[in-house]
Amino acid sequence: MLRFEATQLILKHAGDRPIVANLGPTTDELWHAQHRDRNFYTYGNMGLCSSLALGMAVSTSEQVISLDGDGSLLMNLGTIATIGREQPKNLIVVVWDNEMWDQTGHQQSHTAMGTDLEQVAKSCGITHTATVIDLEELETVFRTALEGDGPWFIVAKTEQSEYMPVSPIEPEMTLYRFRNSFSS
């Protein structure tokens, strides 16, 4: 599936729930799909997307969605263990898994060579998991995740696609705008 179409599908069902996006194309595509106050765009800090979402989930009663990536998550697999330890019911991690480090020259990531992130999540005590390969499967699983308790860990296999223009946004404004949306 194409990551942009999958991002549009997540947004279609996400309502006003906060979404944290992994750096690079995931952040850019979230902005192009629909810029909203509750999008937390990341620009660096590779590997911390789901750690940010975990910190949010244990600090708000709202459901929090992390749009992570295979390469980034491989940099910080420990956070899957921390999610398993904390068991936040309101956290949904979606991993866009294209099995490569796309931006650095399409090098194969470990998920192309046998690493199964869903199994990693399961072994860390996350019981609600899935691996999906098309939009239809993603929609079914994501809607189920929204309706019940988590934490959820969904690996979505995506294909290579053209880059969209870099989103015209600033980190400081991202935090300010996002944080203010929780202040009322």
Partner: protein, 168 residues
Amino acid sequence: MNWAEIIVQALKDWDTSLIAYVPDISIDQVTRLIDADPFFHLVSATREEEAIGIAVGAYAVGRNAAVFMQSSGFGNTLNAVTSLCIPYRTPIPMFINMRGGPGEFNIAQVAMGRSTKPILDLLGLVHFTFDDDHRMGEILDGALKLCHAGRQPVALCLTRMLHGGKVA
């Protein structure tokens, strides 16, 4: 109050209830109090960089957060501090057990311990060092106020002279 209780009180005074940490035998004297106090949610991270991410996530939804680590772990946080905390402007107090000072027994702790404060200086981040608890509450309160006013991390460096440290 002893030094550990002073830290707990300062965190409460600044409504800082999400604490992310990587265990350390010296700061255990504080994190043990935090863990036992229902005011706090103590999250055990696998790595200090991850602790920073968790703390920033909490702050992003309106909850004040702090991190605890030792100076070797501060080395692990650098990309998170420089690419997350600084550009996003997040006031995260970093309590750091300083290794590599008087009484250090482990050569592997010396280089990072000795370079922690110079690195903080290079990054333009304010740090305060506590060798004893003299006026500690007052300084800590001011440090947390400064942290929030500047919306940048502030480091609170806790030395072996303060907490007794790990002796071998």
